[in-house]
Amino acid sequence: MADEAADLSAPDAQLLARLIPPTPTVWDRYNPLTKATLAAATTIAALGLGGYLTQGLLFAALVLPGAIAGRVVWRVVRTAALVTLPLAVAVGLVSVFTRPGLTILFRVGPFDATLEGLDFAARVVVHLFVMAAALILFGATTSPRAFVVDLERRGVSPRLAFAIGAVLDTVPAIVERAREVLEAQRARGLDTEGGLLRRATSILPLAGPVVVGALHHVEARSLALEARGFGRPGPRHLLWAPADTATERAIRWLLLVAVVALVVAAATGAISHAP
């Protein structure tokens, strides 16, 4: 596509440059699908292989190198820890005190804290952390738009690619819209603070205008898209797509084969699943 860029006028070249996301590090420059495959393979492996050592090895071998190359080690570790924390508290409370076990560590009221429960909770937390870290590494070093463009180039329907890509703008838009509705309803006397029942009854006056407003917006937006040839059949020409290499393709296939082998091994009982 470099030869195409050569004979573009200056404004067109500027437009094209805006489409290309910045890639500050080596890891950012890898193909989005390769990074997504790596993240998915790591999460499945973390799920299928038990044991603290294995999880540590998975983290060191499949997450850490990417995080170092992408210069996001601190961000990945911190975000993964933050995301895992509520689940860690929950799984701790659920498992440590209520899981039957023989070794009792201490007692709080009627509840016994067992060593078996603690071990189980720690295993769950460790594999959740590895899962989260792998996915956050992907998110931190990949432009979501580049990922969608890459999927479209590989044959995902352009209409579906549009739907996926539009989520990025729609989530903040819906949040903004929900805030407006909330303020408008408060100005009209809706009580959104206070007890559980009061909060629960305020769901409908808040969700209602957001949903109906969205339906009206869909109407306007689909007319605008139709007017610009969105419904036209046939292939689309992409102005830009992320680069891909034969090495990366080989790595993806290798990861896929490894994951399939792992799943087969787990299903046939060749490796034990824990927890």
Binding site: A121, G139, V167, A178
Partner: protein, 368 residues
């Protein structure tokens, strides 16, 4: 034309039945109730059934392709309006799901309003696609934003099923408002609905609680080994009392909304929605149980977790405790979500809804 569709249904159904037969006869399928009261092969059966549904669908589409060289039954659900609605629905799922799970701390999720909306308005496949993409986008697209969650994608299968079922129920007219129903019809409808809900409760939900409170080392288990099903009620565990109060509040709230609609508008549609939501909830519970137990150790970081703790404390194994929790949370959650979508769509102009592929069939063209 009609016979062509019947041929597709016949081939698809045969493929489905064949897959179920092969899947269940080729392996040791265990139907004896396990410790939790649910057959040991339940998870395996669900897996085989899901695969069979996919195989049946593929055969249906293959016949359609051979007959018409097109796949209209798929493509007509994905009009431009559907495609534009999908990101809104996905965003709605994510924003509401995030808020309810982290802020309200209720034992429900409310993360499928958008999926159900698309299912009803655009059809089962569009609903399924919205559910699947919702959870995948939640993890992969929004990973670097504050809205992303690396833990949403394992539940993509459940979200797919929710969209599929909502589409089917929409197709069957379960979401259509039926106000000013004749009193005799209304009474008959309420009785039929109560019977259906009772059957669902008896066959779908209660078996999971049969052995509750009979686990090893539980005070409620009687010494002679005979176990009363509601023994756990006598434990006066503070967790169970708090649990009962919260659940009661939610159920009463839903019941009040329901009675108001039934008495004031004489709207029989509420009963349809109630039954459909409960069915969807039970199916979702069975699908998400193994996922929650295997991936998350039974927790999701939301208000549902203390239910799992309570059931585990009462002597259930992890997977049984998760199933017992899901069979409470999911039917309540899906019933409330269905009622919300039903109420919203009933008050939306038909001019707007009828432009979606399934809008006219699901909701009619006359506003009430």
């Amino acid at each position: 034309m009609i016979s062509r569709i019947w041929l597709r249904v016949l081939v698809g159904g045969a493929a489905l039945a064949g897959t179920v037969f092969i899947g269940l006869s080729g392996s040791s399928f265990d139907t004896t109730p396990a410790a939790g009261g649910v057959p040991a092969g339940a998870n395996q059966f669900m897996l085989v059934l899901a695969l069979a549904l996919i195989v049946g669908f593929l055969f249906y589409e293959a016949v359609e392709w051979l007959q018409t060289r097109r796949l209209d039954s798929i493509t007509h659900q994905f009009t431009t309006r559907t495609i534009v609605l999908m990101p809104f629905a996905i965003a709605l799922n994510i924003v509401l799901g995030q808020t309810v799970a982290s802020a309200l701390k209720l034992p429900i999720y409310l993360d499928s309003i958008g999926t159900i909306l698309v299912g009803v308005l655009a059809g089962p496949l569009a609903g399924a696609a919205t559910g699947l993409l919702s959870n995948l986008a939640w993890t992969f697209m929004l990973a670097s934003t504050p809205f992303g969650s690396p833990y949403a994608w394992p539940f993509a299968i459940t979200a797919t099923e929710i969209g599929l079922l909502a589409g089917l129920f929409g197709y069957l007219g379960a979401f259509r408002p039926r106000p000013r129903t004749l009193p005799a019809m209304l009474v008959a409808g309420v009785v039929a609905g109560a019977v259906l809900l009772g059957a669902l409760l008896w066959y779908g939900i209660l078996p999971a609680y049969r052995d509750l409170g009979c686990g090893p080392g539980n005070a409620a288990a009687s010494p002679d080994g005979v176990c009363t099903p509601i023994a756990f009620l006598h434990t006066s565990d503070p967790l169970f009392i708090a649990l009962a109060i919260v659940l009661l509040a939610i159920v009463i709230m839903a019941a009040v909304v329901l009675l108001v609609r039934l008495a004031r508008d004489r709207d029989l549609g509420v009963v349809y929605v109630l039954v459909a939501g409960a069915v969807c909830g039970v199916v979702s519970a069975f699908i998400s149980t193994p996922i929650a137990a295997l991936v998350f150790g039974g927790v999701t970081g939301s208000g549902t977790d203390f239910l799992v703790a309570a059931f585990q404390q009462a002597g259930s194994s992890l997977e049984d405790a998760v199933r017992q929790q899901s069979l409470i949370s999911d039917p309540i959650d899906k019933t409330i979500t269905y009622l919300i979508v039903f109420t919203l769509l009933a008050s939306t102009s038909r001019r707007l809804t009828a432009r979606f592929p399934q809008g006219e069939r699901a909701l009619g063209t006359v506003e009430d």
